[in-house]
Amino acid sequence: MKQKTKSKTTMDKAPVKKARNRWKSMLWSFVFIVMSATILPTASYLFSADDAYAQVNNDNNQRANFWRAVREGKPGYSSVSGPEAGVFINNGGQNWRQLRNGVIANYGGWAIVLGLGAIVLFFLLRGRIKVEEESSGLTVPRWKTWERVMHWYTAILFVLLTISGLSLLFGRAVLIPLLGAKGFGMWANLSITVHNYVGPFFALGVFAMLLVWVKNNIPNGTDMKWFAKGGGLIGNAHPSAGKLNGGEKLWYWIVIFVGLIAVCGSGLVLIGWAAQYGVVDGGRATMQFAHQIHAIAAIIWIVGFFGHAYIGTLGTEGALEGMTSGRVSAEWAKQHHDLWYEEVKDQAGRQETEISGATATST
């Protein structure tokens, strides 16, 4: 019995081995074929090294060389002075046109519409997130006066720039049918003036935010857990958070990278300041690139802003007060920023008492 099984296994092993060998040789020949097919054709490079093609570019064929250089956009001499006056053909223009009128205007428009739609949908499904505990009237200080001034200064300029910027990108399609060519011409003139003059002052505000709030926005483990629990937006969980939760920190870094670096940086290129100080060359290629970055990043920023504005006002009860009066209710703080509330709860008080206290110390 025992022997029988053994002989059976040896009998089975032979065809298995044969099949394995067949597979092995098949794989190796496959590898060999692929290697040969890729390496052998490159052998032609051995011959290209000895100037086989150099003869085409001879100096005698001046006319052909001239037209080739013209097509390539090689600049020549022009006694007329002006930006890139020596360039025959601006080859990048059509690409820029296709990207601006096609990709940016279409997907950008959809991004804004869908972003707003998502917020409306979220509001309909989730409703306003209320403060759960009964109000005790106690408040804790959240944002200092100058922090609030910085926030609203930047916010107001942001809204101005958003309206004027979107008018310049979508106005031709959306506003000309409404206002007419003359009416929109005046509006667009106002828009570009506001946009160009306000932009640099806005960039200063965002830069101030970078300096002032960076210490509050260093990501930590609490934020990871906050995100893992859906940040309290999904479901009714109230994940722990410090003064700023993961979502607020994410928004801060979007403002810094997408906003300050991409939008404000490219904006300074577009109004010619970067070229004036020699940071970039200010040529058409630079401007086209800066414009694309500016438009794409600005739309991302605007969609993010919709979310920020919704959560800060309609979406969360008691959140707006932090940025208007500077104080939030103790219950709101406990619910949304429990770790931070532990730090500041000894400062809790009624606003009236604090004001009278302040007058008492000043007199």
Binding site: V70, F88, G93, Q94, G185, I192
Partner: protein, 194 residues
């Protein structure tokens, strides 16, 4: 209907800048604005060649496509003109133009450029033909007087030809047949092929 085109014969252009001067004088364009310019490649070397470049009045004009206020229009003669009352000086037409035609009278802080100015094919603008307002904003309207662009009229070697595209092409074809060589209708593929 005529379809107006420019053609510059690089085998004839001698870089005299007569076209540039004629244009500046005829339209009294301000300092820094040059509706036409001559570019020379390999200047001072044997075989140098020059081309006179201005707005080519493209069929599918990129300037018009990217203008945020839609201030460009094409006349029945195929001339691309723009309305300075609508122009906001954003510079987009300059980014898009293959020929570097759009010009701006100012360059100030905060990106202020002023109203764009470019070659009108001596056809003025949307204001009334040969009115004072048209002259001030867009220059002379020679087309309304039945005349062709002055740059080409004054070209000493007749390198620069302006007029109906078919007639321009006929003149150029005749030249090529007589002198040999390949035709180089510079800019035509970019401007008129679409």
């Amino acid at each position: 209907m005529a379809r107006m085109k420019f053609l510059c014969d690089a085998e004839r252009c001698i870089e005299c800048n007569g076209c540039v001067t004629a244009c500046k004088n005829e339209h009294e364009v301000p300092w820094g604005v040059n509706r036409r310019r001559v570019i020379t490649l390999g200047d001072g070397e044997a075989g140098e060649k020059s081309i006179s470049v201005a707005c080519m009045h493209c069929t599918d004009a990129p300037c018009s496509a990217v203008c945020p206020v839609d201030c460009f229009y094409t006349t029945d003669d195929g001339v691309v003109l723009h309305d300075k009352d609508l122009c906001i000086g954003c510079g987009y037409c300059f980014y898009a133009c293959p020929f570097g035609a759009p010009q701006y009278p100012q360059e100030e802080a905060f990106g202020v450029r002023g109203k764009m100015d470019k070659c009108t094919f001596c056809a003025g603008g949307p204001a009334d033909d040969n009115s004072a307002a048209e002259k001030e904003k867009y220059g002379r309207n020679r087309m309304a007087e039945g005349k062709l662009p002055l740059c080409a009229e004054m070209c000493s070697t007749k390198a620069l030809i302006a007029g109906d595209g078919d007639m321009v092409a006929d003149i150029y074809r005749e030249r090529i047949l007589k002198r040999g060589g390949r035709p180089q209708t510079w800019g035509w593929e970019t401007a008129y092929s679409s």
